[in-house]
Symmetry: C2
């Protein structure tokens, strides 16, 4: 199948973005290094880069892929299209930290071209604290708004609300974390932007991502962790597993398109636990966290109301 010049250029830019992110996360961790695992399958190529058992990061993946193929019925359904073929390139990343005081974080940017001539960008970033600290959520959202506003002020309000809707577990009636931004099927022409600007937006997001995370690492790296917090971390990770396997469209697209299973499932935490009907003690910091896992919180203007652990 024929890929456009734009597609190849975007793929090259995303591949460089992967390298940039890997270097920044290695610096943030201080001791761990990513191993590169290139793969080649019928649908295309990719490089999975994985860091395991660093000082700060327990498991991280930064994946680049460049794939194309026929739109099977499952893919047509997933992509809501009747086009016969697609090309897709993207970078997808997730970090599971050692310490429960440091959040899980995820970022993804992608570019799609379909045989019907349509082309779009998608992506997002979201923060999943094991313990929700409103001030961290506020700073995270302020940084995202600043980034978005540099391109168009239409982005942040739209993409923030989209993240609230997307990163949500209906069976638990809780959000995955404190949200972030999410966008899909964005065509530059729908905004006062062109394709180069959309690519630049994706790269800015990808480069902001390790910086936002480094700030959280610095803040919590020395905080003492007891068994209680480790247990809670493993429970919160089980919700992360539930989201990714039950609802995440990237995971479903990847597996349905015959992608590399180990690369796609690098998002799985190193360890997750399920206890039947676990309920934190009233008034505990775990219980507080649960009250904050809901849609529609205006984090930028959030007043913490005396929450302090």
């Amino acid at each position: 199948m024929i890929m456009s010049v734009t597609f190849h250029q975007t793929a090259k830019t995303f591949s460089q973005l992967q390298e940039s992110m890997v270097k920044q996360f290695e610096a943030a961790d201080g001791s761990g290094t990513f191993k590169y695992h290139p793969w080649e399958k019928e649908i295309g190529t990719g490089i999975t880069s994985v860091l395991q058992n660093g000082s700060i990061i327990e498991k991280a993946g930064v994946n680049f892929s460049k794939v194309s193929g026929p739109c099977t019925p499952a893919l047509q359904n997933a992509l809501q299209t009747k086009a016969s073929t697609y090309s897709a390139t993207g970078v997808s990343s997730i970090i599971h930290p050692q310490s429960p005081w440091i959040p899980i974080i995820h970022m993804n940017v992608r570019y799609f071209e379909l045989s019907d001539g349509s082309a779009w960008f998608g992506g997002g970033i979201d923060l999943t604290p094991h313990y929700v600290i409103p001030e961290d959520a506020r700073e995270f959202h302020i940084s995202l708004k600043e980034l978005c506003d540099r391109y168009t002020e239409q982005f942040y309000p739209k993409f923030k609300e989209w993240a609230d809707r997307y990163f949500f577990l209906p069976h638990r009636n809780e959000t995955r974390g404190v949200g972030g931004i999410f966008f899909d099927r964005i065509q530059a022409s729908d905004y006062p932007l062109n394709n180069e600007a959309m690519t630049a937006f994706c790269c800015d997001l990808g480069n902001l991502y390790p910086k936002l995370y480094a700030r959280l690492i610095d803040r919590y790296r020395d905080q003492w962790v007891s068994e209680r917090e480790k247990q809670w971390q493993h429970i919160r990770r089980s919700r992360y597993v539930e989201f990714n396997l039950l609802y995440d469209r990237g995971t479903q697209f990847g597996l349905a398109s015959g992608g590399n299973a180990e690369s796609i499932l690098i998002s799985m935490p190193p360890q997750a636990n399920w206890f039947y009907n676990f309920e934190p003690n009233q008034g505990s910091m775990e219980a507080e966290t649960l009250t904050l896992l809901r849609k529609g919180i205006d984090w930028i203007n959030y007043k913490a109301d005396g929450i302090s652990y």
Copy 2:
């Protein structure tokens, strides 16, 4: 909505089956006891019974439910029907043992009635050894064939092949375990049987289930477990999580119909681990197990070919 007399009778029988199974598993464990958690939601009622941290059983669920409601588009899709309402009753159970030498096991029976007048039985049982021991798989399948043959010789070959197809992880290209039997949308009238016989078949299966498991408990309860086997158990459990959240129709039906999330997800293991690209050593018992996780093995006539751990 109006439920038929048959529906109420079947639900009562299944409720008694739950009690019978609970008693048998408590006897097999020796020290653990099930706690009963009745629930009531818009769609109906149920009793979740859970055993955690027994001597042999780490986590077990034996769930009964009796529900009905409108067939939403998601449910119409899941049930492949255009009927407007459904009623469903069933017992579903799963056991996660402490020891990796003892397999995970699952059993489920269910009865459906739709507003278009159709009614059917479904269910199944399957064994997921952390280490596949061919002789255990052989005994398991012989017992299932004996049970099936008492009703009709059509069942075992059909249901065994169905289990191979159903309990399969396409993204891993591996079966969940050594299979068992699986059946869905079975109408008594398609066989030389009536509804009473189908209900009896389901109950016989439900009562055989703890007996088959008790045999495996007796065989492996005293086998020494090292760190290596625990690690492998946690990896195998992660595959179990992947199957249940990505593919299991019962889980999807339950969550889509607004069922009780904690009851449905009682199937999740107490702990699961994901390591990137874990590959067991060549010739190890872990590697042997992977070669046996494939469809189409005729376990009843399987010759072990010198596999022995």
